[in-house]
Symmetry: C2
């Protein structure tokens, strides 16, 4: 058995059963080994941003790291942006990056680059495996690193001779250690804050936003009357009618400050102190009110379900029925010209039960999370790292991770243009994804931001850099190019019709919303 | 004047007159300044790989660095692959990468990343400017770094408060220092090798492949009978009928070894000792024959024209008429089913005079450089760093750098799928580019490489990672989606017809060659 095969068998031992890939020559022994070993499904992305974004989406839905297969430093470079998003979302994945044979690196062949240097800024763990007899053990370390709660980016660099040289066999992979518990003192401090009468907000992040953890949070809020918020962007929130109503902190500085201005005590469970997405002259970086006390009950690395259960116990809220949002979806979808309000209303009416919604709609989506709090129960996945080009790719992984659920990707046109190649993988794998492109034909957010910095009316250079209008992108043609079905909506009634058509379709279907 | 404006005015001082851009919020003050200052043309790329690839193509045709404008660490990450290609081609450019305000970085907002860490592997020069009064001087340093012969990647990181804070004004930019001359001893050693009777090859790289430098090389070869070769991939070669016939070293190991096996003395002018693109079991990394003597006359950093002139003088070849390849283009283009031979014959017959040809055709292009040695005179630009996704983007910059010349981009379908967004920039700017996509619907080179590593017939996983056949990409639809004209050819007579149609069209035109 060669090193490559020992690594593939180690992946199987570690329950890494999906490999999102865009390989090259230096990875051919690994590709060949994937053919000889049962247990790893290989999914091709036409561009590495699709590959790493898909692994992120997959982890968010399954809690299991996927592997990625990338081609040397530049291939890893193409995947960095979505590695950044995955790292900020605390997703786990195992990147396998091919490298020249160890003895070949010194010759500075064309594709030679400092792969560890490229990997480090967007990885939690990086290692170059130096010998074919060591690669299985290194692979096990990578998997173990990826599984450290709540998830880590592990990048294993695989020189070609490490892949083709003789190995002893696969390595065993240690079971993940359970996440550390929150301290009893922190729980008590949180409980005190939530019942001392001063205005308190429970701010949830990461795994606190789903399953039993969320249920405990709903009981705590019902019992104490505290505010119940999530961070502005979250890896995955279980929400909708019947679920605890967790409001999402606004993206923009002024509304976020307004949302938090009455909070005297901020109780953090899996969340960090809210900060502005960007700095602006004369606006704060930290969004909480002056004098607001911060209580760190548990961080994303902790066992958040246990922490919230303990907090509920401390508050005698274990048997309090959790807050549950009423249903708002039983309404007719709106008609008329497309407005941001109307887009939110359409989603509220039409998101199907158990859907997985990926939100990268940027300016078009400003009403979405508020309008859909009482929609049919669904999961909501946000672009946590803020680097656009995530949603189309993450939808691929989400659909593979949850093949029985409808995936709905809500994308700004500017964002979707970064990784539109994902449509091809959706078509090839017949992934059940409804892609909605909000085609305002601009980096609209940047026109707003240009005004925010005090610029006068945008001039020739600014317009050339912020407008996508000339020529208009034809998303129906692009979908056809990649083998996906598509249609267009230019008003709300058409959108309702086309959205329903897309949802009824099994497989990828793109709706271009022009406005 | 704020820091951003002082930087833009410094760019103008340094003759950086084009900015390939994909900005975000942190760059809005810089965008606004670009509106207030005359002298920088802004070109939007829908993805940062287009932006950095375009700057590479622009430098190769003009010898002038362009600026790029990129959005924080992830935006830079998206541009890394083509920065890698540009660095290996020794192109100069000035990357301006937005960063959070200096005081905001510590808050770890979503887009926060180690930008210097991302930049370093693919940059020759990196600096974060720490103050608005320093940014103009830092900008001048970046331009000076980019202009160091033969060209360097300079990355200047611009925190938002450095852009919006008060500045004193622009900085002056020092004129580039002339490149160092080769040593007299090296010239003499080269001359000895070329006339001592043992088989000698003159291997040219970088600026030795164009203009007067190439002319001197042609005289030297005519006088001495030495072999005249270029490296396997080159930033820009002036070639075709009437030009010195410089053969390109083959990409594959065995043919490259065969090409060099009789060379006893290898004389390097702007080139390095040839090495294998990848390592393979039981094949050499270094491609020259055992015992071959290597004479380093001049490196890419040196004044190659002066070195070759001096070498010609030493050899009494100054007045020897240079070798000139005969014309082969005056033939009818071939007909029949598409073959690699036939593709090369079509190019030989139809490449227009003075064309700029970008070659990223990978397996489809294996006959191209040999077949076109006697085509109408043209420039040939190769993907020097080997990271696919270059040609479509570099064509944008080449067309902007040489607006009166026809650009012909020859692309494998696998490669073109990395940066197909470049079609939109071509359409928007009405760039005169003929894009030919060789749609063999596979990473064909990898099927070959899989066989090279001794794998049996590819299995399910290998095929899923190497084939692009299902669904077939519809390039006509993709071109339409981005606003470019297109047509398809399925045999050589159709290709000749459609290629002529594309060449007669002013503006972007894509020909999909299906075989």
């Amino acid at each position: 058995m060669n090193g490559a095969e020992s690594l593939v068998r180690t992946l199987v031992n570690g329950e890494v059963n999906v490999c999102f890939a865009n390989p090259g020559t230096s990875e051919m022994h690994f590709v060949s080994a994937l053919d000889r070993v049962e247990g790893v499904r290989c999914i091709l992305g036409l561009f590495e941003g699709v590959v790493t974004g898909a692994a992120d989406g997959y982890y968010r839905m399954t809690g299991k790291p996927a592997a990625t297969l990338l081609h040397l430093g530049p291939g890893l470079g193409n995947g960095l942006s979505n590695l950044h998003n995955a790292k900020k979302a605390r997703s786990g994945m195992v990147n396998i990056v091919g490298e020249h044979a160890t003895y070949h690196v010194k010759h500075d062949a064309p594709l030679t680059a400092d792969i560890e240097g490229v990997a480090r800024p967007m990885s939690d763990w990086v290692k170059t495996s130096r010998a074919s007899k060591a690669i299985a053990a290194d692979g096990a370390l990578a998997i173990e690193a990826a599984r450290v709660a709540p998830g880590q980016i592990a990048t294993l660099i695989l020189p070609a001779d490490t892949a083709w040289g003789e190995a002893d066999g696969p390595a065993q992979v240690a079971k993940p250690a359970p996440p550390a518990g929150a301290s009893a003192d922190a729980i008590k401090a949180g409980a005190r804050a939530l019942q001392n009468g001063a205005a308190a907000t429970l701010l949830l992040g990461n795994a606190a936003l789903k399953g039993k953890a969320l249920d405990w949070a709903g009981r705590i809020a019902a019992k104490t009357g505290c505010g119940l918020w999530s961070e502005a962007a979250n890896a995955r929130v279980e929400r909708g009618a019947g679920r605890p109503p967790v409001a999402q902190l606004p993206f923009l500085v002024d509304p976020a400050v307004a949302a938090l201005k009455n909070t005297r005590q901020l109780v953090l469970v899996g969340a960090k102190i809210p900060v502005a997405f960007f700095a602006y002259p004369n606006k704060p970086s930290v969004l909480i009110a002056p004098g607001c006390e911060v209580i760190h009950v548990a961080a994303a690395e902790n066992d958040l379900e246990a922490a919230l259960e303990a907090l509920a116990g401390e508050l005698n809220a274990r048997d309090t029925p959790p807050l549950a949002h009423g249903s708002t979806f039983n309404v007719a979808p709106p008609a008329g010209p497309i407005t941001l309000e109307g887009l939110g209303d359409i989603l509220n009416a039409l998101i199907p039960a158990n859907a997985i919604v990926l939100d990268e709609a940027i300016t078009s989506g400003r009403t979405f999370t508020e309008k859909t709090m009482g929609a049919r129960p669904h999961d909501w996945l946000s672009i946590v790292g803020g680097s656009i080009g995530w949603g189309m790719a993450a939808a691929v992984g989400a659909a593979l991770g949850a093949p029985d659920r409808k995936v709905v990707a809500l994308l700004g046109d500017g964002s979707a243009l970064y990784t539109q190649q994902a449509l091809w993988t959706m078509a090839r794998e017949q992934l059940d994804v409804t892609v909605v492109i909000f085609a305002n034909r601009a980096y609209k957010v940047l026109f707003n931001e240009l005004a925010n910095v005090g610029a006068q009316a945008p001039g020739k250079n600014a317009i050339s850099m912020l407008s996508l209008a000339a020529p208009a992108i034809d998303w129906l043609a692009i979908a056809k190019g990649f083998g996906a079905a598509a249609s267009r909506a230019t008003n709300l009634e058409e959108l309702a019709l086309e959205f329903k058509r897309a949802l009824a379709h099994r497989g990828p279907y793109l709706v271009e919303v022009v406005f």
